[in-house]
Amino acid sequence: AQSVAQPEDQVNVAEGNPLTVKCTYSVSGNPYLFWYVQYPNRGLQFLLKYITGDNLVKGSYGFEAEFNKSQTSFHLKKPSALVSDSALYFCAVRDMANFNKFYFGSGTKLNVKP
């Protein structure tokens, strides 16, 4: 079965410091991996995705994610955090054997302090 794990409920980082939000996955076959961000009282916004190709994927708002097949990870990163990055982040994997299913992680709350 496909699954996604976000091991941290919350990540705290100071503004200007690099940030990492962790995600590991379990899939059969090649994974389609996604990151979404949810600001308070809003829907989810697409940030970036990995389908194939370069392991480092760049997305919106200066975020990037690194696909690591051997570690089955897809961690979200940003070199310099902003207070406005504070939000809830979701990792997701698409079930390639069943195109309708997106499996979402439980979410990680990112707090960036000034």
Binding site: Y36, G43, I51, N98, F99, N100, S106
Partner: protein
Amino acid sequence: GAGVSQSPSNKVTEKGKDVELRCDPISGHTALYWYRQSLGQGLEFLIYFQGNSAPDKSGLPSDRFSAERTGGSVSTLTIQRTQQEDSAVYLCASSPTGSSGNTIYFGEGSWLTVV
């Protein structure tokens, strides 16, 4: 439309009443999804439509929940005899199909409170 549109954005209803939540997907998107998100929690898959048919209803939590989609576009999620545990944000998402259909785009959600 430019994005996925959901209505109402907020709904307060009395326990036992029926509610209807509407989703208007991005124009041309054939796939449509409903998810539920309890306060500050993750996403719970409810149902998926491809066109007007629903090949996967596995996430609907009880027979009080139903959904339909007409004309391959607008979808309605209906909750009958609402209970307090139904209070949540109901999120709709859509995507195109084919090789480009690998990203889903969400609406702003319908915030349901059952009192």
